[in-house]
Subunit: 339 residues, 2 copies
Amino acid sequence: MQKGKSSIEFEAPPVISSSACVAGKKEGEGPLGPLIDVVEQDEMFGTETWEQAESAMQKQAADLALEKGDIRRQEIRYLFAGDLLGQLIATSFGTVDMEIPLFGLYGACSTIGEALTLSAMTVHGGYGDRVLAVSSSHFATAEKQFRFPLAYGNQRPFSSTWTVTGAGAFVVSDSRKDAGGGSAKITGVTPGKIVDFGSRDSMNMGAAMAPAAYGTIRQNFQDFGVDETHYDRIITGDLGEVGSKILLDMMRQSGSDLTGIHMDCGMEIFEKETQDTHAGGSGCGCAAVTLCAMVLPRIRSGEWKRVLFLPTGALLSTVSFNEGQSIPGICHGVVLEQI
Amino acid sequence: MQKGKSSIEFEAPPVISSSACVAGKKEGEGPLGPLIDVVEQDEMFGTETWEQAESAMQKQAADLALEKGDIRRQEIRYLFAGDLLGQLIATSFGTVDMEIPLFGLYGACSTIGEALTLSAMTVHGGYGDRVLAVSSSHFATAEKQFRFPLAYGNQRPFSSTWTVTGAGAFVVSDSRKDAGGGSAKITGVTPGKIVDFGSRDSMNMGAAMAPAAYGTIRQNFQDFGVDETHYDRIITGDLGEVGSKILLDMMRQSGSDLTGIHMDCGMEIFEKETQDTHAGGSGCGCAAVTLCAMVLPRIRSGEWKRVLFLPTGALLSTVSFNEGQSIPGICHGVVLEQI
């Protein structure tokens, strides 16, 4: 069960029995658009504030995941959820109507990795037959929280990423009790520690997160006694173009060539040339939507047999940034395999 | 293992094998002062910003908990930690040096309840022999985050609470593997759901949280088939005077008289008359420090055999408040028993 220094191997792997994703107009126009369950043209999601919009999107994704799996709310024992906003207000107001005991999580853009990890630990531990992992981000709430008022129209450097307007919800079920299909099983996890290389540029979060991704991948290899050939794909969360290059360089220097194996959700969700998103997508919704729309279907179809999924987070706030603090990163690894 | 609708009963209860708390000058002058491990006279904790001070305090508490238990950092498999600040920056910078895989949590002032719950689930599930649960708050970072600049010297209504400058750290160990003493065992948990009664007054968070505490207590009674006589004490986090009165009224109306059984950490940590703290203490540090300084020693001594510990959280941010949103509450229940 405990595997190596930091990982967990599940003898009876929990399954992702149902999932759903909801995203905004821009994401709908991207490469994954046709694969996203619901593309909402109204960035306000019919509400009055950006924050309410994000809550509505999160709720919609959660409801749809249950609907697609023909699962009633009462059958979900616990909820693991989070977002990027201070005090998780998108989650608080997005999940209140579900009336399910909530574990509020903050791991920046790595949140869906943290949520899936705790979900798998919970159902495998016998604490619940079905739990729900949810995360979301919204371009407008994130810009308001971390950067400039939208109306200011600031210029963005090429190293910056574009926060995804999107939410993903995943029902994680006990395979010993739930005979239903499902898209993938979670066979192991490698929870990550905070890594601080002293990066201070909030417009280059890929560089801040790459060392954390590197650390978690190395730990995963070591704990499970494997190397990159063990996985059909190693998929990071939202390193974007700049962070991905750093990660591949770091891996190469330590003897692993990830060419043809590595993908990054931030680079998959937008079309760089035509969508003007610079280094790629980011936000808690980026990895969650990409997992639901692209990764799980390819595992289900058998195109990929085994994937190391690695949502990454940059741990900064406007307060820490303005006080001149560095931007530490974190990355949680989840091993997904064909059922 | 699963108990009733929402609770968990641990067959081999994890133990709190070591704990430590660090607090500020004002807390040191309160009723619990002599029981707090470290009372720091410098509110800046030797750092340059309030946020760094909170991080330093969190780190000090964590290091001390390990030291008191004669445990090396390398023996702690996972860290469950959180604070009140946007994007958990007190935690990010407070725990980075520990180099332990981190699950970042946000449950407002209920965070130590969430952390202890997940810690117990993790060690009981066999995922780690020892994990660490940590939470903190600092009066100055919280005022800056949620209210007014300190220099503004705003007046505070009597329903308001005073954010505790304090941090608590708790090593939770697998009793099947760790033969050491410890102060209490965690025999069950009742994770709470968000409850929103429509309260909108951020200067009266007790009223916002009382319905959540009520809900979790009722759920605990129902899931375990017990009533208030089952516990020597039922100890809420930081309802304060106003919230406690509401809770007792709600309990009475549903047939339970908690007179002589209920305590509130917020009312224990400060001396109302002489310390000018109005309704009591609050913040992630309030329940954590009170647990470490007062509750655990009394369980260890046998004065209390069984305690229902219920940290409570008010889920608001300045954004949600300024946009006119309500203040939902959450409360996580942890059953602590004499070893």
